[in-house]
Amino acid sequence: MSFFEHMSPFVGNLNALAGGLFIIAAFGIVAARQIRAGLRFFIFQSIFLAASAFLLGISTASIHLMAVAAINLISKVFLLPWLLGHLIPEKIYTRREITQAVSIPTSLIVALMLTIGAYFFSQPLLKAAALPAVLRINLPIGLAGILLGAYTLTVRREAVPQLLGLLSMENGAFFAGIAIAPDLPLIAELALAFDILILTFVVGVLTRSVEKKIGTTAVGSLTKLREEPHK
């Protein structure tokens, strides 16, 4: 693959930095106690995703990847928080999550192990397909992003942190995607950005309904539906 050969080491280092910050933001989403802080970490994560796409775009002189960076920046850093702010009442953001399934220090250790696991899992794939050295970090980091997002989803009980978990899973997939599938059709990239906004809208509307009907947004504690008889 000569596609990425001209990437200068400097840009490569910057990309590694963006990757590192991306994963730190994912740890932030796992650990943030306050919902607003979790949202900030997600925004940071999206900025680092856009930064990585932009850097890869520079190094390969690919307008396409720069457009991907711009689409990500607009949809996730500007439109998404705006939409969420409109849909979800202010008081939910300032809420602190007290009842987490797993304590935060334990969560961080699990997150660390997942990250290491992602690194080892992606090695055989990287061996199977030639990828320039500077791009090789995107796959394990993206994979770790997906795993950390899934972990956030399973341990968080509040609606908004669960949404952030879902969104950060997709961020992880994108982070790997800009390296392994850089020439995805632009229509797909646009549709994906649109899709994420619909997702945010739908979850926002659902959260409002849950809060109105049940009086809580701790969706993790909804357990009426099961096989055993209740009531």
Partner: protein
């Protein structure tokens, strides 16, 4: 051209019904749109069968219909039409705002399902599948009860988690295709270049997509959301979710088969067989102990998805055509079952199996419908699913795959017993209290739906029209 109009109709219907202030207009627009889509889908199917190479394309190949896709398109269009008809009588709206939202989502949901078989580019298919979840979530939670909202939340979280995993799968598939020098990222382009793919990348992509989309079709152990969502939604939506949404997602997995089977060492068939058998077995035992009759039919969806996957995993044209027959039979039968269950719910107001006894004496029509639905979905002769399950087992035994076919036979028998045990008591049984309330009568549109929906259930069990048989064989040959 037909294909483009086919996609535009539900979008137009969504806009019109979303903006209309009158419940009747929204309902009529939706029904007219669904009927037009169904008509066009049949037209498109005829032209695919007669076209050279059996592919119809539009917009310079951005839209393409291939025999397997045609089958899915027909099913989605048909069930969408019956669901629109059932909605007209079933949805008794209190306020016009609710009505607007229901039909807006309903049409968008139909749009997303129709797009899946029409798009040849897998990355856009992924988006369409994600949209099927996003557009149907608010329908699942539509009744805004505690249970419905809980079901909607579980549905969105689990299926979108799966979708994110599948997205990585598709990106890795793209990577593998680029490595193999593929320039056209379409199903056909990928199938043609498949032998050059790196086995490690392809296998990872396949497993990620199978597991990710497996969450969406209710493969055990990712099935936990399915009985909740498929039972809490309003009945016409249940019919769409259980009957065709699962089928449309399964289609994506089936489209991957010719790609993964072209590369040795991936053992895709084993993966399908194992996942399929686990799902059938688990569902068969869960069916024994359900208490809610809508959940009964939802668990039976898990069972049938498992049967189809296992049949696809057996390999060979005879097993594949049987799997497709099962796919068709399941879509038409399961939607009919939900219409019958929805009618029972309208009459009695309870979802509890134990509180419904002797429905045939109170409302003979509904009782017969429920009985027919139960027999057909459990796989009794002479219905379509009996024929397909028999062909699957026959193909399995003929191939000498005795463990798989034997297990399948046992699980199907348990599921049959479980379903008929519940249904016969609901239909004929006597209890302390017979059906609770029964002053109501069924709306005319619901009766009409029951009559239209039962036609393919009965006909396909006795006689498969020649052209339809041809379509199934063409689709099976392409798997």
């Amino acid at each position: 051209m037909i294909l483009i109009i086919l996609i535009l109709i539900p979008l137009t219907a969504a806009l019109l019904s979303g903006f209309s202030r009158n419940a009747r207009i929204s309902s009529a627009v939706t029904l007219a749109g669904a009927a037009a889509v169904c008509f066009l889908a049949f037209r498109a199917a005829f032209s695919v069968i007669s076209a050279p190479g059996h592919v119809r394309a539009a917009m310079g190949g951005r839209i393409a219909l291939h025999p397997l896709g045609t089958l899915i398109l027909l099913l989605v269009a048909f069930v969408n039409m019956t669901a629109a008809l059932f909605s007209a009588g079933y949805m008794n709206f209190g306020k016009s705002g609710g009505n607007r939202r229901y039909y807006l989502s309903f049409n968008l949901f139909a749009f997303s399902m129709l797009v899946v078989p029409l798009i040849p580019n897998p990355s856009i298919v992924w988006i369409a599948v994600e949209l099927t979840t996003l557009f149907s979530v608010l329908l699942v939670g539509f009744e805004k009860t505690h249970e419905a909202l809980e079901a909607a939340w579980k549905y969105i979280v689990l299926t979108l988690m799966g979708a994110a995993v599948a997205l990585l799968g598709f990106l890795i598939l793209y990577w593998a295709a680029r490595q193999a020098g593929v320039t056209q990222f379409t199903w056909a382009g990928l199938t043609a270049a498949a032998p050059r793919f790196s086995p490690v990348l392809l296998k990872t992509a396949f497993v990620l997509i199978l597991v990710g989309f497996g969450a969406k079709i209710g493969l055990v152990p990712l099935h936990t959301w399915l009985p909740d969502a498929h039972s809490q939604a309003p009945t016409p939506v249940c019919a769409l979710l259980s009957g065709v949404e699962t089928t449309a997602v399964l289609y994506v997995i089936l489209r991957l088969l010719p790609i993964v089977n072209a590369v040795p060492g991936i053992h895709a068939n084993t993966w399908l067989l194992v996942f399929g058998l686990i799902s059938v077995g688990t569902a068969a035992f869960l069916l024994l102990q359900v208490r809610d009759y809508k959940r009964l039919f939802a668990f039976s969806t898990v069972e049938h998805m498992g049967i189809i996957l296992a049949a696809a995993g057996l390999g060979g044209v005879s097993a594949h055509s049987a799997a497709l027959l099962q796919l068709v039979g399941h879509a038409v039968t399961k939607s009919f079952c939900f219409y019958a269950a929805g009618s029972v719910l309208l009459l009695t107001g309870t979802r509890n199996i134990a509180s419904v006894r002797g429905i045939i004496r109170k409302s003979p029509g509904t009782g017969v419908a429920l009985l027919l639905g139960g027999l057909a979905i459990a796989g009794a002769p002479p219905f379509a699913l009996f024929l397909s399950e028999f062909s699957i087992l026959k193909a399995g035994f003929q191939q000498g795959n005795f463990p798989a076919a034997g297990l399948l036979l046992i699980f199907i028998a348990i599921a049959f017993f479980a379903i008929m045990n519940h249904i016969s008591r609901m239909v004929f049984g006597t209890g302390k209290e017979e059906c609770p309330v029964s002053g109501k009568t069924l709306p005319a549109s619901c009766k009409a739906t029951l009559i239209i929906a039962v036609i393919p259930v009965i006909v396909l069990g006795i006689y498969i029209p020649g052209l339809f048989h041809r379509l199934i064989m063409l689709a099976a040959a392409g798997m």
